[in-house]
Amino acid sequence: MQAMRKKFWFAPLLIVFSATLLLVLLPGLLGVKPVVLWTDRFIYLLVAMGIFLGAYIRHKPHLRLPWRHVLNNRRALLALVILCAYILVGLLDSIHYRQPLPGENANNGEKLYSVEVFSALDGVLSHLRKHVEKTYSSPFAYQLYAMETMVASDGSQYRAYPRLKYAAAYLQDPANQRAEDILSKLLLGAAQGLIIIAVLFLLLLTYLARRQSVSFKQAWQQCWQAESAASLRVVLYTLAVLIVLSSIVWKLSFFYHVFGTDKVGQDVLYLTLKSIRTGLVIGTLTTLIMLPFAILLGIMAGYFRGWVDDLIQYIYTTLSSVPGILLIAAAVLSIQVYMANHPELFESVRDQADLKLLALCVVLGITSWTGLCRLLRGETLKLREMDYIQAATAFGVGHFTIIVRHLLPNVLHIVLIMVVLDFSGLVLAEAVLSYVGVGVDPSTISWGNMINGARLELAREPVVWWSLVAAFVFMFTLVLAANLFSDAVRDAFDPRLTLRGKS
């Protein structure tokens, strides 16, 4: 039992180590050059921290119990599956590389790599990336949205809607054939999705049967009937819907622009998927930057009182009385100017845009730690009067140990709740800031930039609505899932709402 207690970090260490190994070795095998952007580093760090935190939670019963409540909540589980899908896309988009230039093995046998930085997601979605039309086209369109003057074979000019280069280009009579074509592709996609689900389910059943050493049939029955497998079924249903949907969209995306194209003809589906990473980075990295400030300063203010408390309170009241958007605008603009004046610091445009994203996270983090800090200060003020803190003082335990061993674990639930709650707010904040023009770099694909771009087109007749709707649907799903999940987390950690059994 004791050996078990001590080594909770062993399994996560193994996972992190093997993941790192994979990331290092894989590019070599595929013959590409890995590129690690600044935000990537932080994301990897975050993932590693997440894995360790998960193991820590598993190891501590007082944290494990509320999380078990969360996982027994069907709505939260559904939200979690959707969140995981987003995170998967975001992570794929965070593995960057440069492709080798074909044929060129010039100067002293050294391989030359393209200047363009791609992500693993770009690799998967290369057809979407390459299917660039001339300009706007509506979803599932076979011709452009605007009329153009064209020259007929006899040399006469006429105005018409030109056919798209990639979408539905193979149809002879698109006006009549399109519906049938879409339906057949849709059914094909659904069928593929169902096959994937069936394979996955068989694998799961084999695993379950193997683990509990029961027959395949018993495992099947358990899976569908047992009360204890209720949450498993929720996961399975959600996954099934998700996989069928994405399989259909995947299939269709080869032949149509499912969400249409934007002003320069880029596929909107591609843009929305790429935006996921930006949203997640803003939502999570900001928290990562904010947490040390909030936790350290909040606990210090509450624990030490006196001038330390005065100073920290002074800092955060000052900070929170400056209008947030002004502060962010000023900081972002000055960073922009600095970057423009020092182009030599950046290897590529991608690098520069990435650092700007990071800078935005830092600025948002610096302006948003005050709320959590205030909460933690209040909680610490309450906790420091608890008898067990006094008892620790009576043992001659040092201040730092008291903070780490007694205060931090007792405020951790507040931190968890706030982090999950803040996430959705930050994703929305990015959209608002980019809309105002002080958000991410214009070259970075983000929901905010998409909405900003769509804004102008809302005034034209007929309206270009799809990029706005696409960005909205994806963002809405993410924020809704995050909110549902955070509700469940908050409820699980609220001692007034849960009747904890004597487990």
């Binding site: 019963p61 008898d387 067990y388 006094q390 003082t393 009576a394 001659g396 335990v397 040092g398 061993r405």
Partner: protein, 675 residues
């Protein structure tokens, strides 16, 4: 009138209230039956969690739903079954014919309404619109609130605890109910205030002729002012008797144990009797007597047959198989498990720790620049000596500064002036590391067993904390061995170290706290009311443990408490504190048996006495103190006690009395003795 007084006002039959939780419901109130007659005081006596409060809430139909519900029984109140009433009809019963006061006066009043408004709220429901003002003033005056016309517009925070409880009583009485349910009305109050409130209740009862249902865990309160009582255990009434019958010959083994577990002067040389084990969980279906597995008189039928009522005398009934064939049971059946213990001679011991002229003044800051505008004189110059292996009890009402004094002694609150010496080492001038290293010598045990253990740490880690900070265990194995022996010492199972504090009961947590303090092998332990949050039987276990450890390890205790009977049992020396200063100090027997300071006399006389088996009741002559403890911000001039002192003289208002030494060791600060 005569026939009315003997009639039953309230008749409860087979009342059962269950709480649904998981598979089996918690039978919190299990077939409880009792009657209350017009104008009498009836007490429900029992330890925490036995279902007495829930019985009261069931009568009012205030059981927290949907978790709990009344599943069976009838409540006949003035010959009408309240359980058949609709919620709307019930509202006219609550507060009008049946009123309730709660334990905690601090939370029962709405902090944003004046007390006048809160009384008016009740009156208006009654339909009396005229002369409300006069009525409210009359009501407040009736509960003994001085200057009621001015107090009317006060907010609850402007009143002291005792005053708030008086206002609560005033609110409860505003509609002249026939039955007052008092749920632990004085538990949160000091002894002297408790006496005032109980007297007030009795006085009002005599004037209005209402009946009182008193819910309490305190045998002392019951001994003084109850006509009849019922003892509850695990959701069931197990004994019913008049006060006389109960105190002269309690019948149920559990009642007997409760008396035996009470500490007191005459038990000093023995261990206290304890009840082993715990109250059974209420969600079990009982096949036999629910006290059987804790009862030393248990025999065959106790295990598998639910005991029925056996009548002993007129109105004295008991649920116990011992009484199947007999009206009374031979006294020899009740064997005492208490063993005598050896106590050591007092004066021979060396002084371990002493405080001289210890002062703790908290500055009050106001305004923009936090100017100091005054001080709270929490501790104002006290001298204490702790001798090796002995217990010094620091006694006083809440707010008199005794906890602050204890913490100042341990340097948990830094004293403003004075000196604290551990053997020869001065502590007040030490800081940082040297002080931290010395902290192993003096430890503290807290009052509240729930806030004194970090809920996020396992018991093993909690015990290790002190050892690690003081570098006591040199190796992992040695540390482990020490944890094991500590747990054994305080009577906890060894696997407790892998569990978290929330898995333990209050008494067990207090044992863990004691083990934690022992881990660094201290010479001195400050015990800050360690038993006041515990039930009588658990208190006895804790006191036995403390006494045993003192004898084995020679630890000195500074025992801070307001409970005189605990002091009588445990203390070698006593210091009585009033408003930051010690008014009387000396050997336990002298202070307790011949107190010289009027405050000590009053304090001792306010404690209700329980003399089991003594048929002739001879209460001490009660000295009732007027008023309450003054504010330590503006202590009265001269003797601090003079505004409340029954023997006040002119001199007392001028100067603080000097120390008078009687019989060498008995020190008293009173002008009565200086002449």
């Amino acid at each position: 009138m005569a026939d009315k007084s003997s009639a039953n006002l309230l008749s409860v039959k087979e009342l059962s209230t269950w709480f649904e939780a998981g598979e089996s419901p918690f039978r919190v109130v299990d077939k409880v039956s009792f009657d209350i007659r017009n104008g009498e005081t009836f007490a429900l006596l029992g330890e925490s969690g036995c279902g007495k409060s829930m019985t009261a809430l069931s009568l009012m139909q205030l059981v927290p739903s949907p978790a709990g519900r009344i599943v069976a029984g009838s409540v006949l109140f003035q010959d009408q079954d309240l359980l058949q009433y609709s919620e709307q009809k019930m509202r006219h019963v609550r507060g009008q014919r049946m009123a309730m006061i709660f334990q905690e006066p601090m939370t029962s009043l709405n902090p944003v309404m004046t007390i006048g408004e809160q009384i008016v709220e009740v009156l208006r429901l009654n339909g009396k619109q005229k002369k409300i003002q006069a009525e409210v003033i009359r009501t407040l005056a009736a509960v003994g609130i001085p200057d009621p016309s001015r107090r009317l517009n006060d907010y609850p925070h402007q009143l002291s605890g005792g005053m708030k409880q008086r206002v609560m009583i005033a609110i409860a009485l505003a509609a002249k109910p026939d039955l007052l349910i008092a749920d632990e009305p004085t538990t949160a109050l000091d002894v002297t205030i408790q006496a005032q409130v109980l007297d007030l209740l009795k006085d009002i009862q005599q004037r209005t002729g209402m009946a009182i249902l008193l819910i309490t865990h305190d045998l002392g309160i019951v001994a003084d002012r109850v006509d009849r009582l019922a003892v509850m255990y695990a959701g069931q009434i197990i004994e019913q008797a008049t006060r006389q019958q109960f105190f002269s010959a309690s019948a149920h083994p559990y009642s007997r144990k409760l008396f035996a577990a009470l500490p007191g002067m005459h038990k000093r040389d023995t261990q206290l009797e304890t009840i082993h084990g715990n109250v059974p969980p209420l969600n079990t279906e009982f096949k036999g007597c629910r006290f059987a597995d804790r009862c030393e008189q248990a025999h065959a039928p106790c295990e598998n047959e639910i005991p029925d009522w056996h009548s002993l005398a007129n109105g004295h009934r008991v649920r116990c198989h011992l009484y199947i064939n007999r009206v009374a049971v031979d006294e020899r059946v009740f064997v005492s498990t208490a063993k005598p213990i050896m106590t050591k001679n007092r004066t021979a011991q060396a002084v371990v720790m002493q405080a001289r002229d210890l002062k703790v003044h908290f500055p009050i800051r106001k305004g923009l620049f936090k100017r100091i505008v005054g001080h709270v004189y929490a501790v104002d110059g006290i001298d204490l000596k702790l001798r090796q292996g002995q217990t010094l009890a620091l006694v006083g009402e809440s707010g008199c500064g005794k906890t602050t004094a204890g913490k100042a002694l341990l340097q948990l609150i830094r004293p403003s002036a004075g000196s604290v010496q551990l053997e020869e080492q001065e502590l007040t001038s030490l800081k940082g590391k040297p002080l931290r290293r010395l902290r192993a010598h003096f430890q503290i045990i807290f009052q509240d067993p729930f806030s004194s253990l970090n809920p996020r740490m396992m018991v093993g880690e909690i015990l290790q904390e002190g050892m690690r900070a003081q570098h006591i265990a040199s190796s992992q194995q040695q540390g482990q061995a020490m944890i094991d022996s500590l747990l054994q010492q305080v009577g906890m199972p060894l696997d407790a170290q892998y569990r978290y504090p929330h898995e333990f009961s209050g008494g067990q947590r207090q044992r863990i706290s004691i083990a934690r303090a022992l881990a660094v092998r201290p010479d001195v332990i400050v015990c800050d009311e360690p038993t006041s949050a515990l039930d009588v039987s658990v208190q006895a276990q804790t006191l036995n443990l403390l006494k045993k450890l003192q004898l084995e390890l020679g630890i000195s205790y500074l025992f801070i408490t307001h409970n005189i009977s605990v002091v009588e049992y445990l203390a070698h020396e006593i210091a009585v504190m009033y408003l930051g200063r010690i008014v009387e100090k000396g050997p336990a027997e002298k202070v307790l048996l011949s107190p010289r300071h009027p405050y000590t006399e009053a304090l001792l006389s306010a404690v209700p006495i329980i003399e089991n088996k003594s048929k002739a009741f001879s209460p001490r002559e009660a000295i009732r103190l007027e008023g309450e403890l003054p504010s330590p911000i503006y202590p009265p001039q001269g003797c601090h006690f003079h505004p409340r002192c029954p023997q006040v003289m002119d001199q007392c208002r001028q100067t603080y009395p000097p120390v008078s030494i009687l019989d060498g060791e008995h020190e008293v600060r009173c002008h009565l003795l200086t002449k």
